[in-house]
Each structure stands twice: as structure tokens, then as C-alpha cells.
Symmetry: C2
């Protein structure tokens, strides 16, 4: 418990604790160079490190932000967490990790606890349609950056949204398939409760319309009813069973748009389960471009999210909020995704074959 305090440093340097404190955070220019040097010397001779708890108690500030993700076990979120942590670290911030498992009440409980811990900024990766439940926290002053979710009417004020343009992304993916000659295309997702899922769905139908086709011809698979558990881990399982459902009929789709890469990998597995070849008999396209997309067999065509940029932006905006809680209005940052074509998609198979 060897805690070196500011008093010991002060005594060592022959100044008052106030001066040491000034050196540490007030204005280091507010003293003679010789004094500053003595303080500096004392600090690293004693190996002094400020006690964060005391500092926090006094100032109300704490150098920690919260990160609430559905589940860090999903490589997409793991990757995001890593980049966010990197950005935070560069400014001396730490990241407290929370897995909501997509349960709204858990999400709320986390936020309340974080608030109670003195944390004033959280990156919330919730794609729940409504953020109403966190409104009280935001009103009390919690800085919130919503990731992977675009602005909605009824959102709390002063909310920053950061997301990829899901409509564009899904459009890219779908147009790619249409261009390859596919017509019987399925859209596979869990329930469409979340915003980004709905947006991706919109991009999907848009692409049909733009090609002069009727979206009603598309096949929509979104699980059985609204009540299925749709954790992120199960995205793969979901895709797999979707593929099974879709492929055993006579009028099976020749291409499948999956809601994300994990789901797409599940779909691919399901395609193989059905004795078909991915990229030849059935084209599959994902969303996210997780590391494993390139490693899959065949490598997965997918829509890449610029995740490093997004993580950095998320932190920067959050920091701005924390430092100036009343600063600026709500805003949204929408990044443009990019289609990465690999081998899981190919020309539509000849129907006569």
C-alpha cells in the first residue's frame, strides 16, 4: 500500500502541496523554472503517482470511459473495443468493458453503475430502436456516443451517432448480386428490431427497386417470430439454420445477403450442410469485414466498415462531450462503407443446368 502522497513530494522539494498540485495540473508556467525543476526531481525520485480516487473525489472527473457492447466475444466488437481502447489510451483514458448481451435492462443497469462510478462518458453500442430508457442519465449529464446506430426521432438531445451508412452498404452488396445475374435473393437477419438491421433491409430493397425489380420477389428470412434470443454469438447459428430452411425447397435462392459476417459464415456453413457450393451454387455476402472473412473458404465477399476510423471518431466525440457537456447539438457521423468482393459470390448459376 506504499502510497507516496503529494505532501511527501512537497516536503522533498521544499515547497507547499499546492505548488506541486499546480505543477501537476494547474499551470506549470506559474512558478520559477528552478522550483519546477525541484518539484519534478522530487516526483520522480519518490516515484510519485497521483491518487486517482482522491483526484476524482475532488474534481468529479475520472479518466475512464465506458464501453457497452452486445458481446465482446463477437470479433467485430472485439476489434472495435481494441481500437477504441487504443484511441482512449493515447489521451490517458481507460476503458471499462460491459457486455449487454443485447438486454435492454442490463444495458440500463450498466449505465447507471457507470454513472455511479463517476464515469461521464460512454460509447453505447446498442441498436435498440429507442434510447428512451437512457434519457434520465443523459439529462443528468452523461455523455453518450451511440455507435452502430443512426439518429432517430425522439433521441435524447446532445447525442452523437456514429455509424456506417447501412443503407448504402446493403445496397452495394445487393446490387453486386443483381449485377451477377442473381434474381432469387434472400435477406437473412435476426428479427428486424434493431435500427441498423432495418436500414440494411432498406438498402436491400432499394437495390431491387433501382434495378427495376420488385422487392416482393425477394425472400426474407428473419427467424421465427420476434421472441427468439438473438445474441451476437448466435448470429452464426442463426445463419446456419436460415440456410437450411431456405435451401431445402425447390425454389431455393441463388444468393443470400446476410446481416453481418458472423451470420454469413453461418450461412456458408449451412450451404455446405445442404451439399451445395458457396460462390457457385449459392452466393453469400456479409457485412463488417471481420478478419475471418478473408480466411473463410471461400473468402467472403462483404461490406467493409472502416472500424478503426469509427473507433477513433467515437472517442474524439465522446471526449469533446465530457470536456464540454453542453457543447454543440446532436450530430451524426455517417461513414461510407466499401464493398470487398471475394470468392463467396459469383455469377448466378444457369437455371438450365
Amino acid at each position: 500500500m506504499a502510497g507516496v502522497t503529494i505532501y511527501q513530494v512537497a516536503r522533498e522539494a521544499g515547497v507547499s502541496p499546492s505548488t506541486v498540485s499546480n505543477f501537476l495540473n494547474g499551470r506549470p508556467g506559474r512558478m520559477l523554472p528552478q522550483t519546477r525543476a525541484r518539484v519534478e526531481a522530487a516526483i520522480d525520485q519518490l516515484g510519485y503517482r497521483p491518487n486517482r480516487a482522491a483526484r476524482q473525489l475532488r474534481t468529479g472527473r475520472i479518466q475512464v470511459i465506458g464501453l457497452v457492447v452486445p458481446s465482446v466475444a463477437n470479433p467485430f466488437w472485439g476489434n472495435f473495443a481494441r481500437y477504441l481502447e487504443r484511441a482512449a489510451l493515447a489521451d490517458g483514458y481507460h476503458v471499462l468493458l460491459c457486455n449487454s448481451e443485447r438486454e435492454p435492462d442490463r444495458e440500463l443497469r450498466y449505465l447507471e453503475e457507470l454513472w455511479g462510478d463517476g464515469i461521464r462518458g460512454v460509447v453505447l453500442c446498442s441498436s435498440l430502436p429507442s434510447l428512451e430508457h437512457v434519457l434520465p442519465l443523459v439529462e443528468r449529464g452523461l455523455g453518450l456516443v451511440a455507435f452502430d446506430r443512426t439518429a432517430q426521432a425522439g433521441d435524447p438531445p446532445a447525442l452523437v451517432n456514429i455509424s456506417v451508412d447501412n443503407v448504402v452498404g446493403a445496397h452495394l452488396a445487393t446490387a453486386h448480386l443483381l449485377q451477377l445475374g442473381h434474381r432469387r435473393i434472400a435477406f437473412v437477419s435476426g428479427s428486424l428490431r434493431s435500427i441498423n438491421r432495418r436500414e440494411r433491409f432498406r438498402g436491400f430493397t432499394n437495390a431491387f427497386e433501382q434495378a427495376g425489380l420488385d422487392p416482393a420477389e425477394a425472400i426474407i428470412w428473419s427467424g421465427n417470430a420476434e421472441d427468439e434470443p438473438y445474441g451476437d454469438l448466435d448470429a452464426a447459428g442463426l445463419g446456419r439454420s436460415a440456410a437450411r430452411d431456405l435451401l431445402h425447397g425447390p425454389d431455393r435462392p441463388t444468393a443470400i445477403v446476410a446481416i453481418n459476417d458472423m451470420c454469413a459464415l453461418g450461412v456458408s456453413a449451412g450451404v455446405r450442410d445442404a451439399g451445395l457450393r458457396v460462390g457457385r451454387d449459392v452466393s453469400v455476402v456479409g457485412f463488417d469485414d471481420i478478419v475471418l472473412a478473408d480466411l473463410a473458404a471461400p473468402p467472403l465477399t462483404t461490406v467493409r466498415q472502416p472500424i478503426a476510423d469509427m473507433a477513433t471518431a467515437a472517442f474524439r466525440h465522446l471526449l469533446a462531450r465530457i470536456e464540454d457537456p453542453d457543447g454543440g447539438p446532436s450530430q451524426s457521423l455517417l461513414l461510407r462503407p466499401e464493398l470487398v468482393v471475394r470468392a463467396s459470390t459469383g455469377p448466378a448459376p444457369d437455371p438450365l443446368e
Copy 2:
């Protein structure tokens, strides 16, 4: 900054702050039932939540543990992080996330910062052979649970090690291949600097010896020199280039043991790059059993680590250390892994074919 303090609760309940404090953590039995009821009512009427900073300042305790992993972008660590967080949450603890990227100095800097934050317990996922660099911290009282690493001579005292039995695991994997008739087997790993890699290598050679074969016949691929960057993300890339190196010669191996699943997925991709079929021309076996192992094409034969159990155990041991820093000697917990046979391994191809 709407902070309800213990004083307001005390006034509301008509008692002293001390009594409220006693109710909260001292002995709630130390007061009349009626008093207790009044305090309780006041607390949830005002929505009081203790200020953790103040509590920490006073007691020196904080309900946060640190988690240092190579990189949470790796699904294995992401999954571990999730289970650890779950276990911690059940006891009211939060988890601070740190990605070391396998850089020793970064690891140390993190530990020092965590200590400075008042954190007294850390789960360290470092497989550096020596833990010497953290010795000063441990001596000052930092509770340390080393994960994915077995005990070494020269380890700090009071260290708890939790790991899977890597020797047994690699043995299982290798024996499985030998039994399938493979003889030209390659072992693919990054540099063998880390302990678990060495252990897995030992299990690999053991299996050869036990089968009455000469381990010298095996092919060892461990990157080029000791200085290659071996982040966890690159495990996949590593495997891929290993496969390329190994498979273009005339005397190519018929089976490959990869150091972990990410690496194995990379190897599989490399096998395909070479125009060969995984599980038929070349068998591949991994280690960890990440979610994606089952989704790969073909599904990956691998050695499963009981990760949920390990995460729970890690937290339990850490908690015990924190609560009683001088409690008990160093100990190691070695869990038994399990071979999961899938389709990436098959009989050795007929040499005449």
C-alpha cells in the same frame, strides 16, 4: 452532477451518517429493525448510490479488476473477456480492459497504471516466459492471476496460474494425426518465446516419441527468426504464409498442427491457396476451439479449452487474493483440454495415389 450523499440520506431518515454507513457495509444487524427500515426507505426514495471514489479513498478498496490480454480483437480473448466480465459482475466487480499487443513494456505500464488507479487485482494474459518485470508490483501487493501460462521457476510468490494443460492438448492433437496414419507432420507456430507455445511443442514431440517415432522427422515452422512481429491478429497471416512455405516443396507435410485456431484458419486458407484440399490432401488441427472453428470449411478439428470454467476460476482466485493478500501460497490450476474432431483432419493420403 446530481449526487445524493450519505448526509442527505441520514437527514431524511433522521439518523446520523454513521448509521447509514453501518447499514451499507458495517453490520446491518447493529440497529433496530425500525431504524433499518427508515434508512432503507430513505435510500431508495432519494435514489442514493454510494460514491465509489469517496469510498475508495477512504478504504483503499475498489470494485474493479484489470484484464490484460494480448488483443481483444482475437476471438479467443474476446470470448475470455466476456466470461470474465460475467463472473466479475456477479460479485459487483467491473473489468478494465487493456490490450498489451504482446509488448512487455506496454504490459508493465498498464499494470503500473492500474495500481495507480487503486486496482489491486489483475488477470494477466501474458505468455512471456518471465514475469520478472512485474515482481515489484506483486511485492507491493498487487494480486495477480496469470492466465494461459503455467508456473515457472522464478515466478513471483503468491501467483496463481490458470491454464489448460498444453502438453496434453498438443499431445492429443498430434496423436490423433499419427493415428490417422500421418507421418510427415508440421508444427506451425510463431516464435517459441512464449511458455504455452513451448509446452504445446513439447506435447507435439511427446506424441511422436510415445508412438515410437523420431520427433526429428517432424517439420518445425516457427516464422523467420525471433524478431518477427507476432501479434494475435497476425496469427492467421502467419499460418497462411507457413502453409505456403511448407506446401510448395516436394516433400510436403500431410498434416499440420497449428499453435491456435486463428493460426489454423490461416493455415487452412494457405492450403487452399496451394490448390490442395483441407482434410483430404492436408489435415489441419488447431487449438482453442473458438466459435468459428465449427463454422470453417471444412470445420476445424481442434483442442478445446474450457474457457468459461477457466474465466470463472480466474475471477474466484483473484477475488480471494484481493480479499486476503497474504492468503495461501502460489498455486496452479491446470485444466484438461479435450480433442474435438471435425472434418479438417482425415486419413493420411495414400502415397501411391
